[in-house]
Amino acid sequence: MVFEVFRQERKGQPFQHAGTVTAPDESFAEIYAREQYGRRQESVALWLVPREALHQISEFPDEFEMKYRRVDGYSIKARLREAREKAGTLEMAPGGEAGE
């Protein structure tokens, strides 16, 4: 069985993927994970998860590119520049450039 190992650097930090361990069962996996990821006091904690327990999702449909849903999908700078061009006040903007 393959187990994925996650380690926590310090208390409160998120667990991060560190590697794998191959073992016939959980108790062997625990011993091996200690040896391979825990010998030098480098983590405060480890998570062991059998690979089958992980569900991966990698398909995220974006058919309509709905940028308005995203924080980066609406640019204040670009809008401000457009508005100033229209009003003819582009040179009067602070720094001579639109919306810094």
């Binding site: 191959t22 011993i31 040896e35």
Partner: protein
């Protein structure tokens, strides 16, 4: 403990040893040589995880040996390095069990489990010692050995759970049993027998223990290798 050993120590005047020193050297020598034997699996263990596990256990054993040599050295007025490397093969006090070489995997696991079980009994006795230093070091070592024991017990579970595993383990344990008894003093042997028989669910052979004082031929070979680097420089060289 049988005084079957030469009592010459390299630092010249150390002709007299105490039973405390004898005790410390016996355990330290056990741990040092077992550490070496375990490390011989590095790179050639059946699979990678066991390669790492045995190497790691080996390092721990040598760490224990060092701590014990330091205690003995303080009493003798010498150094841990001199005690570890500068004795002649017949001056080491290790049990024959840890000297056996090139055991195949089932016997390696059997030895690992038998030694850890005997060591647990020995450490338990030492933790109750009136000697604060000895009790202290025994407690420290015991806390680390807990992980070695977990590893060994897991393997025993695993091997006992299949017919082939059980058969191979039985054969290996029977063969090493007299050596295992030899790790402990007389009064602790019955406890080892009780513990092992209960764990394996069967009676173990009634045999003569192979005690300390009997050195396997392989010890001299290992000593050659172990002390080669140290001996390559003149005595008194600084490392």
């Amino acid at each position: 403990m049988r005084r079957a050993y030469a009592t010459h120590f390299p630092a010249g005047d150390l002709q007299v040893t105490t039973s405390r020193v004898e005790l410390l050297l016996a355990i330290a020598d056990d741990e040092l040589f077992l550490g070496w034997r375990n490390s011989e699996w590095t790179g050639i263990a059946p699979f990678l995880e066991e390669d790492v596990a045995f190497s790691s256990i080996a390092q721990n054993e040598i760490g224990h040996a060092r701590a014990l040599y330091e205690l003995a050295a303080a009493e003798l007025g010498t150094t841990a390095d001199e005690l570890a490397f500068d004795r002649q093969p017949d001056e080491y006090r290790c049990a024959p069990l840890v000297q056996l070489r090139k055991l195949e995997w089932a016997r390696t696991i059997a030895r690992h489990w038998l030694y850890e079980t005997a060591d647990e009994i020995r450490l338990e006795a030492l933790k109750g010692s009136d000697d604060a230093e000895i009790a202290g070091i025994a407690a420290k070592i015991d806390r680390e050995e807990a992980y070695h024991r977990m590893h060994a017990e897991m393997w025993i579970d695993r091997l006992l759970s299949s017919d082939e595993g059980r058969a191979r383990l039985s054969e290996a344990v029977d063969e090493l049993w007299p050596y295992a008894l030899g790790v402990l003093d007389d009064e602790l042997r019955p406890e080892l027998r009780r513990h092992a028989e209960e764990r394996l669910g069967r009676k173990l052979p009634d045999v003569q223990p192979i005690p300390r004082g009997v050195h396997e031929a392989e010890l001299a070979e290992l000593w050659e290798e172990m002390t080669m680097v140290r001996r390559s420089a003149p005595a008194g060289a600084r490392w």
